[in-house]
Symmetry: C2
Subunit: 298 residues, 2 copies
Amino acid sequence: MPETLPLRQFLNLIYLRDSMKILVAEKCGFCHGVRNAISVAEKTLSHIKDGNPVYSLGPIIHNKNEVERLAKIGLKTVDSVKKIRSGTVLIRSHGAAPKQIARLKEKGLNIVDATCVLVKRVQHIAEELEKDGYQVVIIGDEDHPEVQAVTGCAREVVVIADENDLHKLPMNTRLGIVCQTTQSPEHFGRVLGAIGKCSFSELKVINTLCKEAIIRQESAVQLCRQVDIMFVLGGLESANTLRLAELCKKYNSQTFHLQNWNELDKSILPGKNIAGVTAGASTPDWIIGEFVKNLEAF
Amino acid sequence: MPETLPLRQFLNLIYLRDSMKILVAEKCGFCHGVRNAISVAEKTLSHIKDGNPVYSLGPIIHNKNEVERLAKIGLKTVDSVKKIRSGTVLIRSHGAAPKQIARLKEKGLNIVDATCVLVKRVQHIAEELEKDGYQVVIIGDEDHPEVQAVTGCAREVVVIADENDLHKLPMNTRLGIVCQTTQSPEHFGRVLGAIGKCSFSELKVINTLCKEAIIRQESAVQLCRQVDIMFVLGGLESANTLRLAELCKKYNSQTFHLQNWNELDKSILPGKNIAGVTAGASTPDWIIGEFVKNLEAF
């Protein structure tokens, strides 16, 4: 893996070549939460005694390449508490449900919590809203681990992905609403508007969107308006990368979501004068750097 | 004025004539709040001693004909506290700001409060939201007396008529939102959705819409889909009648908003087989009855 700092510096430059100009989004790649989780994982792995396993409950981030890199230095990814017998368990940035954490504790495992502070905040808010008598609602994707962890923080949480889920809402109730941190303000507002047209007695909405994710989205939109072709780098299961790609496609039809340089079909490059590059919050700098270097050399 | 009860009964019937079928909306005309205000006014006028004036602070309802009828039996409409020296003051169904009521009390006037209970509720909620540290926001028309009374219940209330007013909202704040009682759920939801896309830290939204107004809107929409021509009866300054007419126009382009039978341009009637009639919450039964009778006889 290339060194991180020099790469980060050169990513913000504008590349001028006879053939192609490459612009990298001012804000892209690792967010604080992901950077912290990776750093916690690396520290944990380096401090652990030989033979003592370190597990991640679910992939530590939604990036196959980074997960593979960490696996090589010892991080074992498991999909359930059952599969862990001893050692240390890392709670990834998306968090875990209180029930899962309780089960880990019961097993006497060493827990290292790398839950993003913003995700932790959503969990606390869901608990508080329920205590205050609200029906907790989260606007987000039912299958996303962050949402699943939040649904575990209250008795019964209604998950609303979009307008098609409105039938799940109870009528004439006090609804306490939060949002998956990586959704866009546009989506959040649209779904809120749809809920507002339903029959409710009170809405308490806490804005739990991640500001960094919003800035990345704005930065990407700005960039993809200036380029002939736009690349969104990141895991195919990464919610924030998918959202970024979806948003870019709206403003530039020549948008391609790739995990890394190898996935690029080079035949689409000829004739393009300016290329834009952005990346999800779980895409490491080395993937972005490698992509830009190769594109530059192409 | 014709008697009320028999009229109310015959309004819900379907009129079949060789020439034209007339359908009256199942729910239309006076709502509880307006009916109460009129009844309070009539009682106050009948109990008052000779020479002791009875004032209404602003037109008691937004219906010229009804205001004229009450004026004939003694109700004096004034537009400001200054113009009242002695006697009894009626607070209309739209309510009055606490400051106005305080000034009436200072003057030693006899106050009869006919504020609609739902409007009173909005005022209380605005006060409570402010006490709880929210920036109070009302979705409604700045010039409407109900909204003006609510804005007088908190230090600084932001009035949002529609998306064009969003710039008035402070950023990253806890917003406590109520709605003018006679707005439609559609409008309420749309504006909420637009607010949801702005930068806020928390929204507390209390549904203050009048359910009767919603039922009237639904009933009108249902009706105007079945008719060739639709009449919406009510004051030209009545917010709920205007909203009703606007809504009907969406579903039936042949919608006409009239104050009474005299305003109808009869040349539009020939060729129409089915006519629908609805009326705002401030339109008295005798206006609806007169209209239907004349249309039937035409």
